[in-house]
């Protein structure tokens, strides 16, 4: 099932903590129910995005790996 994101944030090349900080800002700008596609190359982002969604309560709808890119779909829940 393909997910159509409402916004795309490319954090390729960025190191911790920038992907998390930028994701927070991008999700804040969404409406509830909308989905952000975030692309990162930092391997740490897999555990960081899981932790970030658990702590903030937003939903990690899906994540995938494409070559050296880690792709996350995050739904704003509140």
């Amino acid at each position: 099932m393909a997910i159509t994101p409402d916004d795309v944030l490319d954090c390729s090349g960025l190191a911790c903590p920038m992907p998390i900080l930028k994701t927070k800002k991008a999700v804040d700008a969404l409406q509830i129910g909308q989905v952000l596609k975030m692309i990162a190359t930092d391997p740490g982002s897999t555990s960081d995005m899981k932790a970030w969604t658990e702590k903030t309560g937003h939903e990690l709808v899906a994540s995938e790996i494409e070559g050296d890119k880690f792709i996350f779909f995050i739904k704003k829940t509140k």
Binding site: L14, P17, I20, K24
Partner: protein, 158 residues
């Protein structure tokens, strides 16, 4: 899941070397992203982190630092200029890894509402005035930190 949680982190920054300046700023800015609140108490050499124009000039100590990627014997590390050499190498690696500059993290922390407390006592000891520090800094003492930390904060010192 009924584990007690904390939504506040209180950090003490004691050192003014580049490697020890990053963790407080990374954790405090990340805390904001996790909908937490954060405070950093800057004391002793940690005050260097918040001096105007200083953050990106903090150095790495090659002496007594066996973890340098290219280990520097102490007898070499103590030669004039070696601190600058080690710092230059480290800055190069950080840049290659695309790590945010300390000045950028500082700005994000201040603008994001991290409570930045400069230790009055060590400012007096080291002759540092409030106007020597970047904007957005509060000057306070141990009680200011403890009062903040006592409200269910995760507390760390660097």
């Amino acid at each position: 899941m009924t584990e007690p949680t904390s939504n506040r982190i209180a950090i003490i920054a004691v050192h003014g070397t580049m490697d020890l300046a990053y963790p407080p700023l990374i954790l405090a800015t990340s805390a904001l992203a996790l909908d937490m609140e954060a405070a950093i108490f800057f004391t002793f050499f940690g005050l260097d982190i918040i001096k105007k124009g200083k953050a990106d000039k903090l150095q790495i100590a090659p002496i007594a630092n066996p973890s340098m990627p290219m280990p520097v014997p102490n007898i070499v590390g103590m030669l004039p200029g070696m601190t600058a050499v080690a710092t230059g190498m480290m800055n190069g690696w950080m840049k290659n890894a695309n790590v945010a500059k300390l000045s950028d993290l500082l700005t994000l922390a201040v603008e994001g509402g991290v409570r930045m407390i400069a230790c009055q006592m060590t400012m007096d000891v080291m002759g540092i005035k409030k106007e020597d520090l970047i904007d957005g800094i509060e000057v306070g003492g141990a009680a200011a930190f403890l009062s903040y930390a006592s409200q269910n904060a995760i507390t760390l010192s660097f």
